[in-house]
Each structure stands twice: as C-alpha cells, then as structure tokens.
Amino acid sequence: MRFVDEFRDAEMARALAAKIVALCEPGREYKLMEVCGGHTHTIYRHGLEDYLPQQITLVHGPGCPVCVIPMGRVDDAMALASEPDVIMTSFGDMMRVPGSNGSFFDAKARGTDIRMVYSPLDSLKIARQYPDRRVVFMAIGFETTAPSTAMTLLRAAAERLTNFSVFCNHVTIIPAIKAILDSPDLRLDGFIGPGHVSTVIGCRPYEFIARDYGRPVVVAGFEPLDILQSIYMLMLQLAQGRATVENQYSRVVSWEGNGVALRAIAQSMELRPYFEWRGLGFISQSALRVREEYAAFDAERLFAVPGVRVADPKACQCGEVLKGVLKPWECKVFGTACTPETPIGTCMVSPEGACAAYYNYGRFARQRPAVVSEP
C-alpha cells in the first residue's frame, strides 16, 4: 500500500539498525524516551525493539492522553454523566478507564447514556439531534486533540447551541517533559519527540531540553522507520557530543507549528494554574480550561462538578512507568492483578499505554542483538 509500506521496509530497517549498532560505545548504556504513546504503540506493534542492541533501552513516556487522567477526573465525568438529561460523549479510549466505581463501559451497562464518538464534532451532531438533552463532550488529549475541541467550541458558539458543553481535560506536553527532566530518580540520554503534538506546537518549544538540560531531541513520525531513523539521529548526536532539536518528521511538522490550530486553542481555551496528572501529581500550568468567553459551553461552569480527588490505587505504579523509572513488567501488579481485562492503572487501558502495549505485543522472551566489544 502506497505511503505506508515505504515506511515499513525491512531492508531499510536492517541498514539503519546496523548504523545504530555501529554508533554504540561498548559498555555504555543508552536510555531514550519516546514521549508519545503513539510511538510506544508503533514500537510494540511492529516489534521494533528486535532491531535495537541490548544497550539501548526505550523508556516509554507520559504522552498517552488516557494514561495521565487521574481517577478523580473520571469520577467527576461519571457524576456529570449521571445528571438528568445528560448524554456523555467521549473517545473510545476513555470507555475502559477505571474510576472508583467502574468505567464508562460499566456505567453504560447500568443505564447511563454514554456514547463513543470519533470526533467532538460528532458530539455537536448529537446535541443538534437531541435539543431537549444536555450533551457533554469529555475532552482529553494533548495539543494534538485540543484544536478539534477548540474548533468545536467555536462552532457551538457560532451556532448558539444551548445544550452542548465540554468537560475539558486537555493537557500540555512541555510541562510534563519538564517535570520528568526535573525528577531526581531519572537518567535519560535523549528524547524521541512527539510527532502529532509537534504538528500543532512545532519544534521550537523543545529547545530548552537541549539548551538547559543538554539532552538531544528528535521529533519523530509514527511509522516504524521514522522511529528507527530518529533513534539513529539521537545516537549520532550522542556520539558526536551534540544536543540539539532535530526534526525527522519534516514531511508533516514545521518548526513553528500550525498557527491556525494554535490560534483556535488560544481563542477558546486558557492555561489552568495547575492540574493533577496521574502518577506525576500536580503540575503547574500544565492543562487547559475553557475561557470565560465560552463559559456557556464549559461543563465545569454549567454543572456542579464534584472535583473529586482520589488517590491512585496503592499497588499501581503507573507514575513510575510514566516517568520511565520502571519498565512496565517491573510494576508489582503488572500482568497479574492488572491486565487489559482488569486494568488497575491507566497505562494498561489505552492501546497507547506502555503497559497495555507491552502486555499485548511484547510479552515474550525477545531476542535482541548485543554489541560486543572488538576482540
């Protein structure tokens, strides 16, 4: 299939892998973080780690929109969904995320009107279709999905809809990366930068990582060769002792980002003073809320949102996994108490979550090439 198979060519992968192996210094360990859950999914789905030498460890980062949603926000959404006349809408990924009293799927089975949509604009359609119901869209995601929520808010305002609102849980990627860089229990050599987020925000926002923390960043696409090439580019920077921001995904990502999308976000949303992230705790200026001007479409203003705070389950080590301190299988409950059927932590829910990806695709004794020093 054109525009897909070219990016999955095994021949090119072997050539790149050989170049990566050649860049490894004997005895040196490399930890590279792929920030984005989409990358995690690609890595496991295509078995990309088979190409990497034992010395290179890929650390799965916090860029999975579902995985960073704290339990309290799920409970809040559940409370909203059970208000009279409400139709709750959200992306399919959200449906299995556990709150204190089960997931959206469970609530749906109990009779709560929760519907899966592919786009927030579909929620608008439902709102038009049911004028006597109140339709709430549970918005989740990084800067990748925020523009579509923003456009939906603008559209709802233009249409003067009176029965549509957004329960906004959009988060921003840079504060999360910064929190990880500032975390004392971490050692990372470089970052595979998130591709989709960067189509919106561009590459410039990552410059501080190279400048202030001395770590290279390569913004990467989502096909396996994209990621392998990005790893090569990171390894090359490390071998040359450089730390800069490079753009592997230049066919889509520009240095300055997408101005139209950024303006739509700025017009309808603003930064919250702080927001709770699953496993990472409260991070200041790390999430978006609906602007005052669009208050008529803000579920948090229209409804009495309980604002529940629920501590993450004790056994769950999603936080350590999100920060890359633990590999998924190193979590105490991984694969035993916590499985895709019975997720305790959010990392096990989304197909982009590090634990779910490892459980579904990587749960076997993988043979990997090791670099051995010359005789």
Partner: protein
Amino acid sequence: MTVENTGVPAREELVLERIDRVRRARPRVREDRITMSHGAGGKATQTLIEAVFLEAFRNPLLETLEDAATVAIGGGRIAMTTDSYVVSPLFFPGGDIGDLAVNGTVNDLAVAGAEPLYLSAGFILEEGLPVADLMTIAASMQAAAQRAGVQVVTGDTKVVERGKADGCYVNTAGVGVFRHDRVLGVASARPGDVILVSGPVGDHGVTIMLARGGLDLEADVHSDTAALTGLVAGLLAAAPGLRAMRDATRGGVATILNEIAAAAGVGIVVTEDDIPVRTEVRGACELLGIDPMYVASEGRLVAVVSPEDADSALTALRSHPLGQDAAIIGTVKGGPPGTVTLRTAFGGTRIVDLLVGDPLPRIC
C-alpha cells in the same frame, strides 16, 4: 565489532512466567452486568462462556468448544450448531442478515467436517419492521440455502415492542452429517503443522463498519459472506493430513489462531506479509487504527494441515472460486504454549493476543 543474540534479563522471564500462571487460572466474570465487551468475541466473551455456560452445561461434547458439536447417533455421526445474528445495518454491500444467518451456520457445520443438511430459523422482529424488508431477508435466506445445498425445515417467529429489538434478529441452528470417519479438531494441531487461510481477511467487518456510516469513510468493499461447503469438500478430499478448520468470523484470524494455540497447547508463528488483506480493507483499518487480523470475515476459513499435505491443501483451496487468494500464513511450533507470535512486515516480532473487547460492536 560483532553482533550476537542474547536472551532477555532473567527477572523479566520470571515475570512472564508469573503472568502465564495467572492466564491459565480459571476464568471468572468480574463485572456484575453484561457489557458490550462480552459480545465482542475476545477475552471477555471467552470468560463469559467458560465461567457461565460451560460451568452450567458442562459435558464432554460441549467442552471441546468447537464451532459445532459432533454427536454419535444410530451408528453415524452428526454435527449440530446454532448461531444468532444481530447485525446492524440489516442490509449491507455484499449481503444482508438473511444470507449471513444461513452461511454462518452452514459454515460452522462445514468446518467441523460435516455436510450441512437442515437448518432452523428463528426470527425476533421489532414492531414497525417493514414487511418488505422481512420478505427480502427471507428470500435471500432461501437463495443462500439453495447455494449451500441445505433446507430450512423449521422455524419460529416472535414480535417485540418497538425499541426492544433492532429491526430483526435471526437465529439459525443447523444439522449436518459426516460422510467420512475422520476426526477434526483444533486440539490436534501439532508442531510442524502449517496454517492456511482461504482468502483475504476482514472484508465483512470493514464493510459493516463503513456501512454504519458513522465514520464518514467510503471504500469499495463488500461482505465476503458465502457458504464454504464446496471449498471444504475440496480441502477434505485433497488433504488427508487436515487437522482442523475454523471459519474466521467474530474476532478474526487472530482469535482463531489463539484458540488453536490454546486448545492444542502449542505455539503458532505467523508472517504478517503472508496474510492476504485487500488494499481497501488495509487502508480502512490503518485509518481506524484497527488490526485486520482481528476483523471478521464471513466466508473465510483457517485450516491446520500436516506439513506434507500443505501444498496439496493450498492447491485445493486455490482451485475453488472462494479460495483463489488462499495462502500459507504460518506454522505450528512446540511453544511457547498458547502463544501466537507474528513476524511483522517490518521485520520484528510481537505477540498476537486475544482482544479484551471490541469498541465496534455487532458485526454479525
């Protein structure tokens, strides 16, 4: 500098063993209500079947959990099966709920190795269903029955109030007879055996997803619903080493492979490049983020064949109009037991597990 293979760190292996033990434990339904996942054909369905139905009805005939039960009666053997159809929409490119209901049950008998003979048809109709629709459905059932060489010999009709059903649900049960004394079953797969698929996978599932119209996607795809009787007869005759067949319906090829691996206690390795998938289906799956290996077909079978009969089995499949694009997709290995691994087109390896549930419900 040299590159060589090394295993995984010892601790990771311990974790994997622990997980294996947990997975072998007796299934338990944790939910207190039925959710859509229980009907998706993945792990949740399997758990429900084993924890509720197998527990309640336990007997040696049921325990094999094959597509059809094989029963000895009056010196001969018959196969018996039943299936319900709740597909939405009722009419879709390439078929409708009527021929689906006939072909599905016929295929469950055929892949058991039996010659399908008689069907029953039960209808649950929603108040308000256009009679013309019902006539169309009945006519296409009759046409499908004739193509498959079976007769609908008994039936039942119920009508429920508007809103209590979705237009029309159909249940069919079927009986077939064995014309030979070979015993087929997925539990008999053994290391060295070859896995074949009779044609491109996922056509039906993708057709239904697109026919619902919610995705605003268009592609030239049709359901592959068809009776596999002729194809199966050819395969049975050509390959004495045929161990088992399954039709790759709900849960797709991936689910069938997992069922084979679990029932026979073997490992299975398949090669992504060898699995036939139509470009349109692949494209739609790429866009939707779905793996075509999990998408339903309604006219495709997966066969396990001894290595020496692999070529003749492939030739037999390809000589039938429904099997022109048949392919060998993998082999059975000694282990790890119960595990299906995929050599990806990219050149890596990964597990192909059962899905928990399917976010896109009701495709058959």
